[in-house]
C-alpha cells in the first residue's frame, strides 16, 4: 500500500514581507538550521532570505518527499525551484507511529498545529528521525548556479519553514507520509496495546523515586539512627 499518496498540500503565494520573518516554531527553526548547513556559500543566506520575503515565489506545493514553487511566474525568466527531502524508511515510520500512538495527546497536538518535543525525542530514540538533517535535504533549480542550494532554492527552503510553523503535518509529508496515512497507521498499529491505568503509571513513577532513594540508602541498623529514620520516612511517603 502506498502510504505517500494523496493530494499535495498547496500553500498560497506569500506576498512581500517587511522586516525579518523568522520561523516561530521550534521545528521550523530546526528545519532552517538544517537547511542553512547545506549551503556552500554562507553569503548566499542573506539574498536567500530576501528572496523568501520578496513575494517573487509563487504558491508552494508540498508532495510526499518534495516541495516546489515557481519563481517570477509568468515572466520570461521564470524558474522552477524544487526541494527533495529524504523519505523516512518504512521501519522508521513504524517506530514513529508507535510513538505517536503512545500518548493520546500527540495526535491532538498535531491536530492543533503543534509538534510535541516529547514525541520527536521518543521517535528519535526509536530510530525515526523526523527532522531532516542537512544530508536529507537536496535542492534543484532551473537557474545556472553551479552549486546547490542556489539562492532561489534557499528562498523556497525559508518559505517552507514558515509553512511548517503552522502545520507540522507538512513536515510529515516532506518525510513521506500524509496526515491521513499517519492517522490510519496509528489506528491499526499492531504494537499499540491498550495503555496502562493511571494507577499503574502513578505507581511506576513512585517506584522510580523509591529506587532512586534506595541507591543512596543508609547502611545502619536503624537503632537511634536519624538517617535511617529519615530514609524510612521518605520511602513511606511514596507508598
Amino acid at each position: 500500500m502506498d502510504r505517500s499518496g494523496g493530494d499535495p498540500l498547496v500553500y498560497p503565494r506569500v506576498g512581500r514581507v517587511r522586516g525579518a520573518a523568522r520561523s516561530t516554531s521550534w521545528w521550523g527553526t530546526a528545519w532552517v538550521r538544517s537547511c542553512e548547513e547545506t549551503v556552500y556559500e554562507p553569503s548566499d543566506l542573506i539574498p536567500g532570505r530576501a528572496l523568501a520575503r520578496s513575494g517573487r515565489l509563487g504558491p508552494v506545493m508540498v508532495l510526499a518527499g518534495m516541495a516546489s514553487a515557481v519563481l517570477d511566474a509568468g515572466s520570461p525568466t521564470a524558474l522552477i525551484v524544487q526541494v527533495r527531502v529524504e523519505r523516512m524508511t518504512d521501519p522508521a515510520w513504524a517506530g514513529f507511529v508507535t510513538e505517536l500512538g503512545r500518548e493520546a495527546g500527540h495526535v491532538a497536538a498535531l491536530e492543533s498545529g503543534d509538534l510535541p518535543t516529547a514525541l520527536v525525542e521518543a521517535a528519535d530514540a526509536s530510530g525515526a528521525e523526523l527532522l531532516p538533517g542537512p544530508g536529507d535535504i537536496e535542492t534543484a533549480c532551473e537557474c545556472d548556479a553551479w552549486a546547490q542550494p542556489c539562492i532561489h532554492a534557499l528562498g523556497l527552503l525559508y518559505q517552507l519553514a514558515w509553512h511548517l510553523d503552522g502545520d507540522p503535518y507538512a513536515l510529515m509529508l516532506l518525510r513521506g507520509r500524509t496526515r491521513d496515512a499517519l492517522l490510519e497507521a496509528v489506528e491499526s498499529d499492531p504494537s499499540a496495546a491498550p495503555g496502562l491505568d493511571e494507577e499503574a503509571d502513578d505507581a511506576a513513577r513512585r517506584a522510580r523515586e523509591i529506587l532512586g532513594l534506595a541507591d543512596e540508602a543508609p547502611a545502619g541498623h536503624g537503632l537511634a539512627d536519624a538517617s535511617v529514620a529519615a530514609y524510612d520516612e521518605a520511602v513511606s511517603r511514596l507508598l
Binding site: A108, E187, P194, D197, A207, R208, Y231
Partner: protein, 903 residues
C-alpha cells in the same frame, strides 16, 4: 519504626489480596510482624546492611526487583480485577527472577522455594505500590454504558456495515467518579466523556473511542475521526486546566485519579476555567452538596433598661449595646453543628464525610468555616450596632468579601420593623407648644424624625422646598422636650442667608423658645442650655471647638448638600460637633448622587453605610454600573428608612398644599451695606429736615430709592455695572441657595426686580454661574417679548428675569413654579399681579413665592406694615411710594433707621 531486626530470619506471609501480605522479622529478643507498607522502606535498604540474614537479603533484593518492574510498567490487573500483579514478564525479567532465586538459595531453602517466595513478594509489592485497589476502578458508575456482550457486539458490527452517518463532530465533558476506596484517600477520579456535537445525550467514555480498534466496528456510533476531534477537545481542556495534561500523556485517556491537592485545584481554578471553554464537569449525585451560609445577628446583651422606659430603643443602640454575629453553613435547611463546622474547618482535603455522606467541598467553603471559627474564638463575632442594623435592613452581611444572607434575631427584628415603619405609622399628636397647625404629611415627618432620633439614629429629611422642613424640625425639637428625651439645646447649622429665616420661623412657631445666633464677631455660647442655637457653616468651620464643647441634644444640618464633600473642612468639622442625634435637611434630590448621599447619611448616622471606600466598592460602583438590580433593591432597603423625601407632586401631598405659598426670606446686610445704609440715612435726613416742601418730596423719594438699592446690592446703589457681585449682599447668597435647590428639583423661576440695573447685575451673576436666563424689561420690543415667553414656556431657560413693571401685563408664564421677588414693590396689588404671571387659573402646580427682605431695614418695616395692617397699608401705600413722602420727619426717621438684629 526505624529499628527493625535484620539479623534474624524474615518470613513473608502472603495474603489475598497481596497488598495485605505481611513480613515477619525476627530478632534476638522479639519478632516483629509488619504490613507491606511498613516493611517496604526497611527491605529497600536491607541490601546495604552487611550482616543481614539471608532471608532478609532475599526479600530485600526481591523488593528492589519488584520496584524495577513496577517502574517499567510491568503491571496488570488480576482476572477478578481485585488486585494488581506483576507481569507480563519478558524473558529478561524471568531471567532476573530465576537468577536472584538461585543466588539466594540456601541449604534450608532450595531455589524453587526461593523463586516461589520471590514471585509472591513481587505481587505483594506491586499491589501495595498501586494506591487504589484494583476493584475501585471497575466501571460501576451510574449512567455508564452497560458492557456489551460479544453477541451484541457482533450484531452491532453487522448493523454498522451499512451505517454511513457515524458521528464525527464531538465535544467533551468530564465525569467525576468517587468510589469509597478513593474517597478514603481524599481522592476522586475523572473520566472524560465524548458527546455528539448535535446530540449531547449521545455520549461514550473517551476510553471506548480509543479502545475500539477500527476493525472492531463502532458500537458506539462514533466515527474513527471522532477520536481525533475528541483528542483535540481534551487538549483544549488541558489548556484550561493543566492537570488534565496527565490524561493526554496516557495512551488511552481513560481516567485520571486526582489527589487532594489536584481536587482542590479543580474546585478553585479548574471548574471555572473549564466552564469558560464549555467543558462541563458532572459530579455523582450527593457528592456536591450545596452549603448555604446562614448568618444571624442578634442582640447579645443590652444595657439594663430603666424601668418604665419604652422597651425599644435607646438602650438597644446605646454605647453598651452588643450584637453578636453567628455565621455557619447549612446543609439543606439544617445548620451545621459546631462539631461539623470544626470538621469542615479542619479538613485537609476537599473530601470529607459529614452526616454519613461523603462530600466534596470547595476549599473556599472550608476557608470560610475556618474564618468563622477563628472569629468566634477571637470573640470578634461581635459587631457594632450600626453594622447589625445594616445587616437587618439589607438581609445580607458581607463576610470575607462575599454577601451572605443574614437573619435578624427577634429583638433586632422588632427594632428593624420599627425603623422601617417609622414613616408610615399613624402620626403622633402634634407636639404641645407648636404655634402652627401641621399638615398631615408634616406630622408624619415629625413622627418619623421622632422615631429615628428616639432610637439614637440620624435621619435625612429631603422634602421638596416649600413643604415645611423648618416647621417639621421645630416640631421635633418640641416633641423631644415634651417626652423628656432632650438633654441639651438644638444646634442648627445653615447657610448665612437662611439664619434670619430660621430665627423668624422659630419665633413664630415656637414662641418662648430661646433662640440665639452664634454668628459674627461677638458670638458666644455662654449659658446655653436649651432652645435653639443658629449658626452658619462658615462659623461652625472656624469655631467648631466652641460648638463641640456644648452637649447638644440635636444637631441639624440645613441645606445639607453643604457637607456633600466629606473631605471638605466643613464636613470634617461638623463631624466633630457631637450630639445625641443628627438630622440633615435638604431640598435637593440627594438620592441621585450616591457619594453625596453617603456623605450626608454617614454624618447623620456614622458607620451605617460603611466607610467611604467600602461604600464605593460595595454599593456605589456596582449600582452605577447597573449590573445587578437586586443590589440596587438591597441598597434601597438600607437607605430608605433614613431618608424621607416627599415631593410637591406626590399624590398624598399635592392636595394638602395651598395653590400659592408666600414666604418672606429674611436676610441680613453685609458690613458694606450697613455703612452705606447708615450714612445715606444720616446725610439724607439732615437735608430732608431742613428742606422746603417741594425739595423735600424729591429728597424723600431719592432716599427711599437709594436705601432699596443698598438693600439689593452695593453695586446696584453705587452704579458699579461691572462691580464684584459675590460676597457683598446676602440676597445674592440666598438667591444662589434657592436656585441651587430649585434647579436641582427641575423647577423654573420667575425672578422679579423693579430695577433694570439690578436685573442686569443678576443676569451677569447667573451667567457667571452658568445658569441660562431670559431677561425681559421695559425696553424689550413686543415681538422679542413674545419670543422669550414662548421660549420660557418651552423650557428654554429655567430662570426668567423680569423687571416688575414690564412683567405686569399680558404675560402667561405658567411654566414657572417659583416666583422670587428680589426687592419689594410697596404696592401689594402690583406684586400680586406679577406673581399671578405664574399662578393662573388652570395651573396645576403649586407656586411658591419667595420675597427677599433685608432685616431691620425699610424693606422689613414696610413688609411688616403690609402684613399687620393691611387696611392701613392699603390706605397709605395705595398710591405707591409717593404716599411715603407725606410722612412726618419723625415717622420717616423711624421708618428708615436701621435696626440691628437681635443677637
Amino acid at each position: 519504626m526505624s529499628f527493625v531486626p535484620l539479623q534474624g530470619p524474615a518470613t513473608l506471609h502472603l495474603a489475598d489480596p497481596p497488598r495485605d501480605s505481611e513480613i515477619e522479622f525476627t530478632g534476638p529478643q522479639r519478632s516483629l510482624r509488619m504490613p507491606m507498607r511498613g516493611a517496604i522502606p526497611v527491605l529497600t535498604r536491607a541490601m546495604r546492611t552487611a550482616d543481614a540474614h539471608a532471608s532478609v537479603s532475599l526479600l530485600g533484593a526481591g523488593t528492589l526487583l519488584a520496584m524495577k518492574l513496577v517502574a517499567a510498567g510491568r503491571l496488570h490487573r488480576d482476572a477478578g480485577d481485585t488486585a494488581w500483579l506483576v507481569g507480563p514478564l519478558g524473558p529478561e525479567d524471568e531471567d532476573r527472577v530465576r537468577t536472584l532465586a538461585e543466588a539466594r538459595a540456601k541449604p534450608e531453602l532450595d531455589a524453587g522455594r526461593a523463586e516461589e517466595i520471590l514471585r509472591g513478594l513481587l505481587d505483594a509489592v506491586a499491589d501495595t505500590m498501586t494506591r487504589q485497589p484494583a476493584a475501585a476502578s471497575q466501571r460501576t458508575w451510574v449512567g455508564a454504558a452497560p458492557q456489551r456482550t460479544a453477541t451484541e457486539r457482533l450484531a452491532d458490527r453487522a448493523a454498522e456495515a451499512d451505517a454511513t452517518d457515524l458521528v464525527t463532530e464531538v465535544f467533551v465533558s468530564l465525569r467525576i467518579e468517587a468510589p469509597e476506596e478513593l474517597l478514603l484517600g481524599g481522592q476522586v477520579s475523572v473520566v472524560p466523556q465524548v458527546h455528539e456535537l448535535d446530540a449531547a445525550t449521545h455520549v461514550v467514555d473517551a476510553s471506548e473511542l480509543w479502545l475500539t480498534a477500527s476493525d472492531q466496528g463502532h458500537g458506539h456510533g462514533f466515527a474513527r475521526t471522532a477520536k481525533v476531534s475528541a483528542g483535540v477537545a481534551l487538549r483544549r481542556a488541558a489548556g484550561a486546566w493543566p492537570v488534565l495534561d496527565r490524561l493526554l500523556r496516557r495512551q488511552v485517556p481513560d481516567r485520571l485519579v486526582l489527589d487532594s491537592d489536584e481536587l482542590a485545584d479543580l474546585l478553585e481554578q479548574g471548574l471555572g476555567a473549564l466552564a469558560a471553554i464549555g467543558v462541563d464537569v458532572y459530579w455523582p449525585r450527593g457528592l456536591r452538596q450545596e452549603f448555604v451560609p446562614q448568618a444571624r445577628v442578634e442582640v447579645s446583651s443590652t444595657a439594663p433598661r430603666d424601668a418604665g422606659e419604652e422597651p425599644l430603643m435607646t438602650g438597644l443602640f446605646g454605647p453598651d449595646a452588643l450584637f453578636s454575629f453567628d455565621w455557619r453553613l447549612a446543609l439543606g435547611p439544617d445548620p451545621l453543628t459546631d462539631q461539623e463546622m470544626a470538621a469542615l474547618a479542619e479538613a485537609t482535603s476537599p473530601v470529607i464525610k459529614l452526616r454519613d455522606n461523603w462530600m466534596v467541598i470547595d476549599p473556599a467553603t472550608a476557608r470560610r468555616a475556618r474564618t468563622a471559627i477563628g472569629r468566634e474564638r477571637r470573640g470578634s463575632n461581635r459587631i457594632k450596632p450600626v453594622d447589625a442594623l445594616r445587616a437587618a435592613l439589607t438581609g445580607t452581611v458581607e463576610v470575607d468579601g462575599a454577601p451572605v444572607e443574614v437573619h435578624a434575631g427577634a429583638t433586632l427584628e422588632r427594632f428593624r420593623d420599627r425603623i422601617v415603619d417609622a414613616s408610615t405609622v399613624s402620626p403622633m399628636p402634634p407636639p404641645p407648644g407648636l404655634a402652627a397647625t401641621l399638615r398631615e404629611y408634616q406630622l408624619r415627618g415629625v413622627t418619623w424624625l421622632a422615631e429615628l432620633t428616639g432610637a439614637g439614629l440620624g435621619a435625612c429629611l429631603a422634602d421638596d422646598m416649600g413643604l415645611g422642613k423648618t416647621v417639621t424640625l421645630i416640631g421635633l425639637h418640641l416633641h423631644r422636650r415634651d417626652r423628656a428625651l432632650a438633654t441639651g439645646p438644638t444646634l442648627v447649622v445653615c447657610p448665612a442667608s437662611l439664619l434670619g429665616n430660621w430665627e423668624q420661623e422659630i419665633r413664630r412657631f415656637a414662641p418662648g423658645v430661646p433662640v440665639r445666633r452664634f454668628h459674627g464677631a461677638r458670638r458666644d455660647l455662654a449659658g446655653v442650655s436649651d432652645g435653639f442655637v443658629l449658626t452658619t457653616y462658615q462659623t461652625m468651620r472656624a469655631d467648631h471647638a466652641s460648638l463641640g464643647a456644648v452637649s447638644w441634644d440635636l444637631v441639624v444640618a440645613d441645606e445639607a448638600q453643604h457637607i456633600k464633600n466629606p473631605n471638605s473642612s466643613t464636613a470634617r468639622n461638623l463631624r466633630l460637633v457631637d450630639s445625641r442625634c443628627r438630622v440633615a435637611l435638604t431640598g435637593t434630590p440627594v438620592e441621585n448622587n450616591l457619594t453625596e448621599l453617603w456623605a450626608i447619611l454617614d454624618w447623620a448616622t456614622p458607620g451605617l453605610l460603611g466607610s467611604r471606600n467600602a461604600f464605593r466598592k460595595a454599593w456605589a460602583a456596582p449600582i452605577e454600573s447597573g449590573v445587578d438590580p437586586a443590589l440596587a433593591r438591597r441598597f434601597a432597603q438600607l437607605v430608605e428608612p433614613f431618608l424621607l423625601r416627599r415631593r410637591k407632586s406626590d399624590p398624598g401631598i399635592a392636595p394638602e398644599l395651598p395653590a400659592k405659598t408666600e414666604t418672606d426670606q429674611v436676610v441680613g446686610l453685609t458690613q458694606e451695606q450697613v455703612v452705606l445704609y447708615e450714612s445715606l440715612v444720616r446725610t439724607s435726613m439732615e437735608r430732608i429736615e431742613s428742606a422746603d416742601e417741594d425739595a423735600r418730596r424729591g429728597l424723600v423719594l431719592a432716599l427711599l430709592t437709594g436705601l432699596k438699592q443698598i438693600c439689593n446690592h452695593p453695586a446696584h446703589y453705587l452704579r458699579q455695572e461691572n462691580g464684584r457681585i459675590k460676597g457683598r449682599s446676602a440676597k445674592i447668597d440666598l438667591l444662589d441657595e434657592l436656585l441651587g435647590t430649585i434647579l436641582a428639583e427641575g423647577g423654573t423661576v420667575l425672578l422679579f426686580t423693579q430695577y433694570v440695573a439690578m436685573a442686569r447685575l443678576l443676569e451677569r451673576h447667573l451667567a457667571d454661574a452658568g445658569i441660562p436666563t431670559l431677561f425681559l424689561h421695559g425696553g424689550t420690543p413686543v415681538p422679542a417679548r413674545e419670543r422669550m415667553v414662548a421660549d420660557f414656556q418651552d423650557g428654554g431657560a429655567p430662570v426668567f428675569l423680569l423687571s416688575l413693571k414690564a412683567g405686569g401685563t399680558g404675560l402667561n408664564l405658567t411654566r414657572a413654579d417659583h416666583v422670587i421677588h428680589v426687592d419689594r414693590w410697596w404696592n401689594p396689588a402690583v406684586e400680586d399681579q406679577a406673581t399671578d404671571r405664574a399662578h393662573r387659573i388652570g395651573q396645576t402646580r403649586a407656586v411658591q413665592v419667595h420675597r427677599f427682605v433685608t432685616e431691620g431695614t425699610i424693606e422689613q418695616k414696610i413688609g411688616d406694615l403690609l402684613t399687620r395692617k393691611r387696611g392701613l397699608a392699603d390706605a397709605v401705600l395705595g398710591a405707591g411710594e409717593t404716599a411715603l413722602t407725606e410722612l412726618s420727619n419723625a415717622e420717616l426717621r423711624d421708618l428708615v433707621t436701621l435696626r440691628t438684629p437681635h443677637g
